[in-house]
Symmetry: C2
Subunit: 433 residues, 2 copies
């Protein structure tokens, strides 16, 4: 039985007054707190400062000079590093610039203009394009679909990935459903990692569209908070086994490994896909920044080097996750007015408040100087059908600011929830009269 339903209206009113006083005190403190985006903090960035001092070898052979033009798909050592990360062959890798988001947008823009292969219709010439969006999910994925005029279809997230019954039923019959967004490990924002069963079903499912694509945004591939590794089935191998190897486009980047704004991104795909994409990329550019590629390879060395480096990130950010979870637990568990994820990696804590309360909570927090990810942002078109989901990004603020931020957030959640309960009581009274 819910905590507040045991309270009389008078008790609720007293509590409301007390919380409103608290909110006013926060307001008078003139806070400027920000938990809106999944950004690394300065201490995390400092972990990679040695990247700036990497000596670039000035090759004797001028045809092999990192400073000059050339090498469309990336230098061998960086392809090797990303191949280890994404568990594919280096020949299945293309290195991009500093942003995997840019690679995802650009890959889909290519598919819009040129199709997924010579044989397929460019998506810009297909009416009623649709894309599956597991929700809650990543707002920047949804923004790309929206920009390309694709209708987005919500798919419920379960604790082992997207609800595959929904997915299979939809893709089997509708050839205008062209793909699905996936953040398969430490999903943004729910934090879950896809089960083997889900990965296999994604690989094996029958799709009415012959050019169906899985956008496999493995942004948090090595972003563990704990010492043990959360296993994720290899989608490329699963698809090869199922004969659907052209289905997945894999992406990742070093943005949350080294420097968020100045790292190296990569994609992986089947040989068919790589050849087709490189055919267009060869018209688009002569190649990405090889000096930055070299810096990253020299600094991180190999998968084990990346994993060792990520342990240092975990040492900095796990205490932040722990602090948020501790305060949420202390302030809200008994109240039974919110539930939240306890992620083992990634960048977010996923918070569900009472239905119909998320927007009000976020607005109230902002009114006293705490900026959160906008309510609804985790849903296509910014529309959370339940108005309950809030994404918490604990990495960027320093510990003292984070503590204050979560305290404020909890007060806002309590207050909005109490308003809701009081409304309910008022409504019951009205009905009884």
């Amino acid at each position: 039985m819910a905590y507040y339903s045991q309270f009389s209206k008078e008790s609720l009113d007293a509590l409301r007054l007390e919380l409103e006083q608290q909110l006013k005190r926060y307001e008078s403190e003139n806070h400027d707190l920000n938990m809106a985006r999944g950004k690394p903090c300065s201490d995390q960035l400092d972990l990679s400062n040695a990247l700036l001092d990497i000596k670039i070898p000035l090759e004797k052979n001028p045809n092999d000079d990192f400073r000059n033009y050339g090498t469309l798909d990336g230098i061998p050592q960086t392809k090797q590093l990303f191949a280890e990360l994404l568990e594919v062959d280096p020949s299945e890798i293309i290195i991009g610039g500093n942003s995997s988001l840019n690679m995802m947008y650009s890959t889909l823009a290519k598919v819009m203009l040129f199709g997924t292969s010579e044989e397929e219709t460019p998506w810009c010439h297909i009416k009623d394009l649709k894309f599956l969006c597991p929700v809650p999910g990543y707002d920047r994925h949804f923004a790309i679909c929206q920009k390309f005029g694709m209708e987005m279809i919500n798919i419920d997230m379960t604790d082992e990935g997207p609800d595959m019954d929904q997915v299979e039923a939809l893709v089997a019959n509708d050839p205008t459903i062209k793909g699905i967004w996936c953040v398969p490990k430490f999903s943004n924002p729910t934090g879950i990692t896809y089960s083997d069963r889900v990965v296999e079903r994604l690989a094996k499912m029958k799709t009415a569209a012959t050019d169906f694509r899985i956008i496999w945004d493995n942004a948090y591939v090595v972003h563990e908070l704990y010492n043990d590794t959360e296993p994720l089935m290899n989608i490329m191998e699963a698809c090869k086994a199922a004969g659907t190897q052209d289905r997945p486009y894999l992406f990742t980047s070093m943005s949350k490994v080294t420097f968020a704004g100045a790292s190296v991104a990569a994609m992986a795909a089947s040989k068919n896909n790589i050849d087709f994409i490189l055919g267009i990329m060869g018209v688009q550019t002569i190649g990405s920044d090889k000096i930055n590629q070299y810096r990253h390879s020299a600094f991180l060395k190999d998968l084990q080097g990346v994993k060792n480096h990520m342990k240092k990130h975990a040492q900095i950010i796990k205490p932040k996750f722990d602090l948020v979870l501790k305060i949420l637990d202390e302030k809200l568990t008994d109240r039974q007015i919110a539930t939240w994820s306890v992620p083992r990696g990634g960048y977010f804590i996923n918070l569900d408040v009472m239905d119909g309360c998320a927007k009000e909570v976020v607005e109230m927090a902002e009114s006293v100087g705490l900026k959160l990810t906008p309510a609804g942002a985790t849903y296509p078109y910014g529309k959370d059908p339940f108005d309950r989901n809030i994404r918490i990004a604990p990495t960027f603020p320093p510990m003292d600011e984070l503590e204050k931020a979560i305290e404020i957030l909890c007060v806002c959640i309590e207050l909005v929830s109490i308003h809701k309960y009081i409304e309910r009581l008022d409504h019951q009274e009205e009905m009884a009269q």
Copy 2:
């Protein structure tokens, strides 16, 4: 009167034998020479090695950290630098990644998918798209048009830019002609700089297409070989004066200032265009590599700093241009079988051999170990209607290799020309019988 036409068939045959012997000697020397692309040489790249040692300020304010996410359009100091280079306001600048080619492709890809503005039709939904291509021109421009399925229309280059009578007549009546490629300064490959009159006519001309765009690829904006500056009228000001400020998209990069493969590119455009493009870019990426932007700004400082730096480039590459021109003059001027440009900047010498000979010359050179830009590459679809244009890129090879390369090239030109003359004589004999 042409030199070889004074020769008897016997004299020509003797000369042919001599040149063929020479060619065999070259073949036996196993050369591996490359003048195919406009690449800087190692000595040029070395001029910017200090860029690698620039200290990145680690900001006290974490919201203003070059290492972190953010700043879609570029950091202020780099926008300021490019604004000086392109003679526009910093608010009219967007900083990109390492490649202006990528920015051009990506801007046109946006126009294909979204149009030039909210009001205009996306070009991918327009049939019979056409683009004007001054010829000879830059093969990578033409490759973009071809990839996007645009019909390319050749426009003759004069010694002051594209033939504006042709351009004006075409654009006035055909709304499917959507734009024109321009390399306005030290044009690739002819080396000419557009006259004020041409720039003004481009700005003022009436276009049937309301979304006509000038792609102003100012790749060689500061790439002087001589101490004096070759003036170029400001297209943005000319267009503002003519009320066509949304017509030009300007591009340039530091690729041939610092590191060809790891520099910073930028575009400039009217406020309307910048707003529209940033609106799409905001979906595409969080921003380009700010660390590399900072390095460039700190290393080059301002326009004067860039100009000083370019003088060092000129010291390295002008002797290469001079050597090529000297050998061409010694070997070919008297023969009257070729003409070539004497550029005051840029990266190329434009060579015209006798009609119908370019392909054979390039193939012959390749057969003895000298790789040139493919004949025809300077024309849309790789088709030089006269088969006479060859682009010489003298910057990359060391002086000794360059000398050998041009000697080989001259022998090939002589030999192919003599074949042509002998053919003519044979033909005349046949006709006389």
